[in-house]
Amino acid sequence: MKNPFVRRGPPHSSAPDPNAISANAFYSIQPLGALQPQAQWLAITPYATASEWFMDSIHTVSRLGHLEDGWDSYGSPALTHMAKARALQVLICLERQPVPGPHVAPVPGGGISMDWSSGSRALELEVLPDGSVEFLRVYDSDRMEEGLIPPDRLDYLREQAAWLTQHPA
C-alpha cells in the first residue's frame, strides 16, 4: 500500500458519478488486508467533513514518515511502513470519537506515539515498529495502566477514547 490516499476528482467520463459528494472531496481508503485481514480495520473517511485535528494528525504522520535513519541521533531507524500505516488506521478509527487532537511523535526504533490529554486523564497510544498498538492510561497524573490492543479489536481502541473523555464526577 504505497499511498493510502485516493483523490476522488471529477469523473473522467461524461457521466456524473452519482456517489460523488463533490468534485473535490477527498477520501482516505484503508484496505488493511495487507496488514491484517480483519474487516474491522476497513474505513472510509470523507475528508471534506473531517475534523481539523484529524487532518493535522494525518499530516504529522506523513511528515514523520519522511524522517531518515538516525533521526534521533542515537541510530534509530526510520519509521516503519507498518507503523505509519497502522497509525493512520488508528486515527481514522478515532476520527469520529469526541476526543481532542493528539500529540503525534516518533518513537526510537521506528514507531509512532499519539498522546491525548483531557482534564485529569491522559491516553497514550503507541504504534510499535511491527504495527502492534499499546496503550497507557494515566489517571490524576500518577496512576497508570498499560497494555496491548489486539489487532482485531477495534472496539478496544474506541473504548480507550471513550475512557479518556469520561470524567468521574
Binding site: 500529540h103 516518533p106 526504533g109 498499560e146
Partner: protein, 135 residues
C-alpha cells in the same frame, strides 16, 4: 530483537560508581515536548530496539560535547536516582570516542514490551530540559 548497543551480549548491570545525583543527559527532538505543559513525553525515554536508552554522564562530558554535530536537537537531564527508583539499571557503556556514554536498562520483568511506557513516562516527566530545541 535488535540490539541498540552493538557489542553488548549480556544485559548491562547497574554501575554503583554512577551516583544517584548524577545528571544523565539525553538529546531530544522537538516532537518529544508536550505542547500542553512543556514537559517531555514518554517517547523520549523509550527505544523499541533493545529497550536500552542511551544517555551521557554529565560528570564525564559537557552539554556542548553531547550536542556537537546535532543541529535542531535539545538536551534533557535526568537524575540517575529516577530510573533506579523504577528498578532500572544505570550502566556505564563507554566507547572509544565517548567515555561518558551510559545506558538506562529496564528490568527483565519489563521485557514484555507493553510494560515499559509507564516507567518511560515517569522518567520523561521527571527530566529537565536544559537546552531548548533551537528554533
Amino acid at each position: 530483537m535488535a540490539d541498540a548497543a552493538p557489542g553488548l551480549t549480556t544485559r548491562p548491570v547497574d554501575d554503583p560508581a554512577i551516583p544517584d545525583a548524577e545528571a544523565l543527559l539525553r538529546r531530544i527532538v522537538r516532537e518529544w515536548i508536550d505542547p500542553n505543559d512543556g514537559t517531555l513525553i514518554a517517547s523520549a525515554f523509550l527505544d523499541r530496539r533493545s529497550g536500552y536508552v542511551s544517555v551521557n554522564r554529565s560528570s564525564l562530558t559537557t552539554r556542548e560535547a553531547v550536542l556537537a554535530n546535532t543541529a535542531h536537537m535539545g538536551l534533557a537531564a535526568l537524575e540517575a536516582r529516577i530510573p533506579r527508583r523504577l528498578d532500572h539499571a544505570v550502566a556505564s557503556d563507554p566507547s572509544p570516542d565517548d567515555a561518558s556514554h551510559a545506558l538506562i536498562v529496564p528490568p527483565a520483568s519489563l521485557d514484555t514490551m507493553n510494560k515499559r511506557k509507564a516507567a518511560a513516562r515517569i522518567m520523561a516527566k521527571s527530566a529537565q530540559i536544559t537546552e531548548p530545541i533551537p528554533s
